[in-house]
């Protein structure tokens, strides 16, 4: 540990001496990292990447500090060799927030900066394509600003006073002049409204663009896949520019499931957000719970009891298995093996969901973690079932899955060499999870920056080196096996005891400060950035969603591929729209 401390001190000295004016340590109580002047940001980031080895920019987000009249952009950078985060921030005035874009240094910042522009109105100078990403062009206002109010606004914070003790039932839409969730700016005239977009023609579908070239004159056509398309795993849209059958360019369009998770999260109390996190990546609810619980526990300073730690690990790994099963099943669906492999995968998944249902109460929306533990203990009979699953059934069934899929000629022909992402590209584009590891970067948060009790288990970080679709499929099989190993160890070691530290509380204050809790979710690094101002509600609640950021690499993977393969490339990233759009 001391070696690391020395290293961190050296880093600090280097940074502060190199930028004596522009970089300061963040002195606010409960905060960490550096505050960088906007004009020095790009140099600072370049130094981090090239001199200090922080080559992976994980999270970019904005915070609206309304009382101070400031906007802050928060960056979390990591080394892909492991270790803690380096946090740096830029503060700009609220009236005209302009920050230099970090896309030239870390291309993975692309979508995240667009999101900060979309929701907070922070302008990133030098961004190649600064458009709204989750909402549509023309939307009025920047919803995550603290002084922006939604049409159904009731109060700043929950719980609402209208519910008790004089809780006469009403429907909120009945208080809206239109009876719906709408509001329009003053003086707006719908007749003069022109849906803005320079790309509108392209989005209309099948618009044609001439290609300038001196060889054979061909025409490029633009095809829309989605938002209602069986291959897109939900409501996701890809605007694909084609030259014949070859993909020239691809632009992901998202936000069709943007359900305002963060705005609602900032109205909620700390505890209320727990069930909402289930609905982020609804295929991996336990991991979401885990990440959020970690972030808030860091601020609260509570530590779960031993048994709870083990239960958390067992549940998180079961979640990973069922998520990967579903991902493999759907991936084979995309490949054209309609539903039969999915049926087999879902069959095993149902058994895991039975466990969740018996322990947490719901198949998908588990709401199981609490700050300082878990909601309830695993009953004895369910424990037996987990034993049977982890030691007998699942290993057998995974082998079976492996046997009939991995060697299949159709799977191999379709997926080998398709959608290649090199290690350098994967790091630069901030890809996470199986996508990153299939490209040959053995980066796993469980190993690189262990949380919970993951440092106690013996498991291998699955890694493959080709970076193609086939490897991304194989890595999921590998990870299921490793997860089973972890569960088996945890089941053997789990001690008896309480599962929740302290008394269950529903209203509590959280000490002021910021905190970033991250876990290795099935889709990749899932992070929760929360800021507390000492009240019962989070001041800022941001989710670093792996599905969303992994899509940054989609265009890179699909360029030069056939249009039919776009579908399986997307399937191999394994996105869930609840998390992508939040």
């Amino acid at each position: 540990m001391s070696e690391q401390t020395v290293m961190l001190q050296n880093e600090e000295e280097l940074l502060l001496s190199r930028f004596p004016e522009a970089v300061k340590k963040d002195e606010r109580k409960g905060y960490e990292g550096y505050v960088v002047e906007a004009k020095a940001l790009r140099d600072f980031a370049t130094t981090l990447r090239d001199k200090l080895g922080y080559d992976y920019l994980s999270s970019v987000t904005g915070v609206d500090y309304l009382p101070e009249g400031k906007m802050e952009v928060v960056y979390h950078a990591y080394k892909t060799t492991g270790g803690p985060a380096l946090v740096f921030k830029v503060q700009v005035p609220r009236e005209n927030p302009v920050v230099p874009s970090l896309v030239p240094v870390y291309p993975g910042a692309d979508f995240q900066e667009r999101e900060a522009w979309d929701l907070l109105g922070i302008k990133f100078e030098g961004h190649p394509n600064l458009k709204r990403i989750l909402l549509w062009e023309g939307f009025e206002g920047f919803p995550l600003r603290k002084d922006w109010r939604e049409p159904y606004f009731e109060e700043e914070h929950k719980p609402y006073k209208s519910r008790f003790p004089e809780g006469k039932f009403f429907r909120i839409e009945d208080r809206n002049p239109f009876g719906k969730n709408v509001d329009y700016p003053a003086g707006f005239d719908p007749d003069k409204w022109i849906p803005d977009n320079s790309n509108a023609l392209i989005y209309e579908g099948l618009g044609r663009v001439e290609r300038a070239g001196d060889d054979l004159p061909t025409e490029q056509i633009v095809v829309n896949l989605g938002p209602q398309h069986p291959s897109t795993h939900g409501v996701f849209r890809m605007v694909v520019t084609l030259d014949g059958e070859t993909v020239v360019d691809l632009e992901p369009v998202m936000g069709y499931l943007h359900r305002n998770h963060e705005k609602i999260g900032e109205r909620n109390t700390w505890l209320m957000n727990m069930p909402f996190t289930d609905r982020l990546d609804y295929l991996a609810p336990m991991s979401n719970n885990f990440g959020y619980a970690l972030a808030v526990e860091k601020l609260l300073g509570t530590k779960p009891p031993e048994r709870a730690e083990y239960i958390r690990v067992i549940m998180a790994e079961l979640t990973r298995i069922q998520n990967h099963l579903f991902a493999i099943g759907m991936f084979l669906n995309d490949m054209g093996a309609f539903f039969t492999p999915s049926l087999y995968a879902i069959e095993e998944r149902e058994l895991i969901l039975d466990v969740f249902e018996a322990v947490a109460g719901s198949r998908m929306m588990v709401n199981y973690f609490r700050f300082g533990g878990v909601a309830r203990d695993i009953p004895e009979d369910v424990m037996k079932k987990i034993h049977a699953l982890a030691f007998e059934r699942l290993p057998r069934r995974v082998d079976e899955l492996d046997r009939y899929l991995t060697g299949s000629e159709i799977v191999r022909v379709r997926s080998e060499g398709t959608g290649v992402l090199t290690a350098e590209q994967a790091i630069a584009l901030s890809a996470a999870g199986p996508v990153l590891r299939a490209s040959g970067v053995p980066y796993d948060v469980r190993r690189a920056d262990p949380y919970g009790i993951y440092d106690r288990f013996d498991f291998d970080v699955a890694v493959r080196y080709h970076g193609d679709v086939y490897d991304r499929y194989l890595i999921r099989i590998d990870e299921i096996r490793q997860s089973l190993r972890i569960i088996q160890q945890a089941l053997q070691q789990i001690p008896a005891g309480p599962v929740l530290a302290g008394k269950p509380q529903y209203q509590f204050r959280v000490p002021p400060g910021e905190s970033y809790g991250r876990v290795e979710g099935p889709k990749g690094e899932l992070g929760f950035y929360v800021v507390s101002n000492g009240k019962g509600n989070p001041w800022r609640y941001h989710v670093r969603a792996p599905s969303f950021i992994n899509l940054t690499a989609l265009a890179e993977m699909t360029r030069g591929q056939k249009v039919g393969d776009v579908v399986i490339i997307l399937g191999s990233i394994d996105i869930v729209l609840g998390e992508t759009d939040r």
């Binding site: 700016p185 707006f188 149902e350």
Partner: protein, 221 residues
């Protein structure tokens, strides 16, 4: 809890008396009944999922719950070939124009099932600025299934309710109803229903006047 399945008497329950000796050989039914019998057992859902509920819908289609037992396994990605639209998940403002368009493209008779709290009435995300408070603000809904998400069995129960509804319809009723087109909402500063432009205009003018008055007040003060 478990009982033997009852014999399906949906079809063979005429209002006419059949002689005892012919009861196993002759079936008398009405045209409505046989027509509905055919329809209710081949309700093809659209392959169309929005959010969490869609995963439960996939599970319903999979081996354990298997709604092909109800003739619903043929999920069609094309609206032209589907009879029932299961709105499975949160409807957002950005998605609603597409959903309305898909509904318009479906061939009559068509049905809409709102699966889950979100599709029924907005659900836990109702207060969000991009969420539609229930798909029934735009489309006529036949069956609402509460739950967040409804379990596969709850979904099947809802679909059985829909079958019961189909049973009660008559051919005349189905085809006398005009096939109305629902105007597709437009994405403006907020979602706009083309039928409501007059109201929007009045509202924004009034709002502008109020703001001007408020500004004048502060200027005077």
């Amino acid at each position: 809890m478990s009982t033997k399945p009852k014999k399906d008497e949906g079809l063979n329950s005429p209002q006419y008396d059949i002689p005892e000796e012919l009861q196993n050989t002759v079936t008398i039914t009405t045209l409505d009944k046989i027509y509905n019998w055919g329809r209710r057992n081949s309700l093809w859902p659209m392959m169309f999922g929005l959010a969490c509920c869609a995963i439960e819908m996939i599970c319903t289609a999979a081996a354990r719950f298997d709604f092909s037992r109800f003739g619903m396994e043929v999920m069609r990605p094309s609206p032209r070939q589907s009879d029932v639209m299961v709105v499975a998940g949160t409807v957002t403002k950005k998605m609603v124009p597409q959903i309305v368009r898909l509904y318009n493209q479906m061939a009559s008779p068509k049905y809409v099932v709102a699966m889950g709290a979100c599709a029924s009435g907005g659900g836990p995300f109702k207060e969000g600025y991009n969420v539609v408070s229930g798909i029934d603000k735009y489309l006529p809904v036949d069956v609402y299934i509460p739950g967040c998400p409804p379990t596969p069995q709850a979904l099947i129960y809802g679909l059985m309710k829909l079958q019961q509804k189909v049973d009660r319809q008559t051919i005349k009723e189905i085809y006398s109803r005009p096939d109305e087109m629902i105007p597709v909402p437009v994405l403006g500063p907020d979602i706009m229903d083309p039928r409501e432009y007059d109201r929007i205009r009045a509202y924004t003018r009034q709002k502008a006047e109020q703001e001007a008055a408020a500004a004048a007040d502060t200027a005077q003060a």
